[in-house]
Symmetry: C2
Subunit: 138 residues, 2 copies
Amino acid sequence: MPKAPRNQPSQSLSGAEWEVMKVIWNHGPQAARDVYAALPDDVSWAYKTVKTLLSRLVAKGALDYEQIGNSYLYRAAVARDQMTRKEMRGLFSRVTGAALSPVLAHFIEEADLSDDEIRQLKRQLDAKRSKSQKGKKR
Amino acid sequence: MPKAPRNQPSQSLSGAEWEVMKVIWNHGPQAARDVYAALPDDVSWAYKTVKTLLSRLVAKGALDYEQIGNSYLYRAAVARDQMTRKEMRGLFSRVTGAALSPVLAHFIEEADLSDDEIRQLKRQLDAKRSKSQKGKKR
DNA sequence: GACAATCGACTACATCTGTAGTCCAATGCG
DNA sequence: CGCATTGGACTACAGATGTAGTCGATTGTC
């Protein structure tokens, strides 16, 4: 069975670590070799670098692994959404004081949203408005 | 006149550096002592720490200074919006590939938005939708 | 004019990150 | 069976970051 990670549920990930996690989130559990192979072309790390990152991710509790034969099968131990939210919260708190809305605007602008998602978000904004108080800007 | 910073326009800021920049963006040009005094209560650094951060910010080109008497008056050399955007772009590129919509929904839920801001975001979503419908150009 | 308080420059040092490399054991190949 | 290969554990090392401290010059205070 998978190694029990007695680590903190998970701290935040560095840029390189995110790159590795994305491979695992996208393709499911992978051996180090496969993660290495699946990395985007613009990421050109030595295999050993990938190994290091995988180990650090296990130490952080973001991955766990299962021994298959002589090698490990790494699997995500945290949800991608959870991590994304954590990052966004971190960004918000770092820039706090700035209005939040421009930040949201930025992501809406950049995000690749389907019509459905757009409708959904609009509904949500409506719901919020009706519930909202006499909010003054900033 | 202000020292000319022959540095890169500006790299990205660390969390602690952001804290210092926020003081200067909020209160305008300040001496180190004043930045120190103006930091939020939950930030309890030694004065020397603030000095270190100010120097690093100058080195990064995020601040410049003017000598007034025997001390420096630090002033922002980059706009807050510019920096905020940079952070957002960084985060965005780090997490790309994820479905952002659930995450956006989460933050819309938590954000304290004014009616005005809500209207604005909705307009933006509309604009996005019409743009994504390839056949249909207004 | 002597001295304490301050200033900025420089130094310190533990972590975290990016980016590998070394070493030994297990495996696969011939 | 013996060796080249591959895997994981551990080590390496420079740059960024958090968090200060030391030192010599300057200045404000009697």
